[in-house]
């Protein structure tokens, strides 16, 4: 599907917030336990960081390592419930998107997040084979951010119409621009907003 995020005007004109500064770092603390040791032994430098913030644990991994980590956690540590997949857009970063996987283990009653950073146009590996629930979740991420998942059985838009242009949850996709474009296309007038 040919997707081009064509905004009518440069987004700066309508940006609701001042140009985003690179956000300050999160005051996270290191996360060390038997789980991090086992993961570090297996994946070594492909996991860049083990941290916790407000008592919630997360790790930052290399994009290629995400699917193997999720598989390893599922098979060896009982993280059998993929709660959610989502993304966050940081347009000023070189690796623009942060993909976030939330995993839960019923046996351990523990929730962890796996984060990875990918560039614009880079494809992430699909985890539908491991967790069927990822099917719609990955479709939604694709729909909203334009991140493609390699190996997804049916990567189409899910919430937006098929002929929609752009990916609305990207930071450079402004609500007013979307509205102006719609009014111009369908009503043939300037929306005046």
């Amino acid at each position: 599907m040919a997707e081009q995020p064509t905004e009518g005007k440069p987004p700066a004109a309508h940006k609701p917030r001042p140009p985003a500064k690179p956000p300050a770092a999160m005051a996270s603390t290191p996360w060390e336990d038997e789980l991090t040791e086992a993961l570090r032994a297996k994946f070594q430098d492909r996991i860049a960081e083990f941290s916790a913030y407000l008592g919630q644990k997360f790790l930052v991994a290399h994009p290629d390592a995400v699917a193997p980590i999720i598989e390893h956690l599922k098979l060896e540590f009982g993280f059998d419930y993929l709660v959610d997949i989502t993304a966050v857009d940081y347009p000023e970063r070189a690796e623009r998107f942060e993909l976030v996987y939330i995993l839960y283990s019923f046996a351990r009653n523990e929730r962890i997040r796996i984060k990875t950073r990918i560039k614009e146009g880079q494809r992430a590996a699909s985890v539908v084979g491991l967790h069927p629930t990822a099917n719609w979740l990955e479709r939604e991420v694709y729909d909203m951010f334009g991140i493609e998942f390699a190996g997804h059985p049916d990567l189409r838009r899910i919430l937006l119409p098929e002929d929609w242009t752009g990916h609305p949850l990207r930071k450079d996709s402004s609500i007013l621009d979307m509205d102006n474009r719609w009014v111009k296309e369908h009503l043939g007038i300037e929306s005046g907003q």
């Binding site: 929730r111 629930t133 119409p161 949850l169």
Partner: protein
């Protein structure tokens, strides 16, 4: 999908919805049929997509709170609770015990209201008209309590970040107690109508089976997971808002079919009454608002907080960049995730069973589409 159809007939594609009344809103299901048998389904969703997550990025934290009510609008109080808990966690705000207890009372009332809507419409879909009127009658009492408490009946915006805006009204406790006393015998009445009813059992038993393994694979939570025999409820597993103080059971089923889900939800309504009564008995005094700064600016960070909404795990993943507006709000909707298992539950069933399965998942399209 099986290769050949029965008698090598051509596969029939039937469109169901989005205006079909049994799809509970604007769900469109494309059915692939072999005669009367379903050999595949595909959901087409998004008709009610309003871009809630995008709106969040353009509002301040308190400004966004009313929007969450419009996702699962039959359980608006639960939505509000999840959002407030997430922002409070980011801010590090303590909610006073009185506010926590009142939150529990209202949330459990809302759980009953949500289950009543489910029971009434589900029974109506299956052909039993009477339960709908009974359920609406009792739900009205709950909505009256909401209206007296905060002025709104459906999209209540009952909670604020840090606690509550309103103290309870004068007869709140007696009203809620009167509702509890009135409601339990009514649940018995619903059961008299349905539990032993041959048609009800015939339509629901062994329909839409989803076992525990499939539930976990598809991320299905809430009554569907419990009906499959998994004793898992976030109110017990990871208690929030003081749920650890209350004594209640997690009802479970064994077969994971539509009938077990019915039994689980009926039991959950009774358990909710039990929680409400305990919360009323031990209702503490004191303030109803924690120490919240005038301008809500959480420090840079991110948090995922989830609650046991009537339909399953409702989560909020919020990323703060240190400003007054959230950098990103992700809602993990139970209806959306649970609906994905529809295909699994419908394969091999009859067309009429699809209606039962849609009903038994208990979706609200406002939450599926957001």
């Amino acid at each position: 999908m099986p290769d050949g159809t029965f008698l090598d007939a051509t596969e029939l594609v039937l469109n169901m919805g989005p205006q079909h009344p049994s799809t509970h809103g604007v769900l469109r299901v494309i059915l692939k049929l072999d005669g009367e048998k379903v050999i595949g389904t595909e959901c087409v969703i998004g008709y009610l997509h309003r871009g809630v997550e995008k709106i969040a990025e353009n509002r301040t934290y308190p400004q966004f709170a009313p929007y969450v009510d419009r996702m699962d609008y039959v359980a608006a109080v639960s939505n509000g609770l999840g959002y407030c808990l997430a922002v409070e966690k980011l801010l590090g705000v303590e909610v006073p015990p009185r506010a926590q207890a009142i939150r529990v009372i209202l949330t459990e009332l809302n759980r009953i209201a949500s289950h009543l809507i489910w029971l009434g419409t589900h029974a109506l879909d299956v052909g039993a008209i009477t339960p709908l009127f009974y359920c609406m009658r009792e739900r009205e009492e709950i909505l009256n309590i909401f209206e007296k408490y905060c002025g709104a009946r459906l999209t209540t915006h009952a909670f604020r970040i840090g606690g509550l805006q309103y103290e309870t009204y004068d007869t709140f406790e007696s009203d809620v107690r009167a509702f509890c006393d009135m409601f339990l015998p009514k649940v018995d009445e619903y059961e008299e109508l349905l539990t032993g009813n041959r048609i009800w059992i015939g339509r629901l038993r062994n329909v839409g089976i989803l076992n525990a393994e499939d539930c976990k694979a598809y991320g299905v939570t809430g009554p569907l997971l419990r009906a499959a025999g998994v004793k898992w409820d976030l109110r017990k597993a990871q208690p929030y808002s003081g749920y650890e103080q209350y004594d209640f059971e997690i009802p479970t089923g064994t077969r994971g079919d539509s009938y077990d889900r019915y039994l689980v939800r009926i039991q959950e309504m009774r358990q909710s009454v039990r929680i409400i009564r305990q919360a009323l008995d031990g209702l503490p005094g004191g303030p109803i608002m924690g120490k919240v700064p005038k301008v809500i600016k959480p420090p840079v960070g991110e948090v995922y907080v989830s609650i046991e909404a009537p339909k399953g795990e409702l989560g909020y993943y919020i990323v703060s960049d240190g400003s007054t507006q959230p950098y990103r709000v992700r809602v993990r909707p139970p209806s959306f995730v649970n609906l994905q298992a529809l295909d699994k539950m419908c394969r091999g069933a009859l067309v009429a069973d699809v209606v039962v399965v849609i009903g038994t998942i208990d979706i609200v399209l406002g939450e599926v589409d957001r």
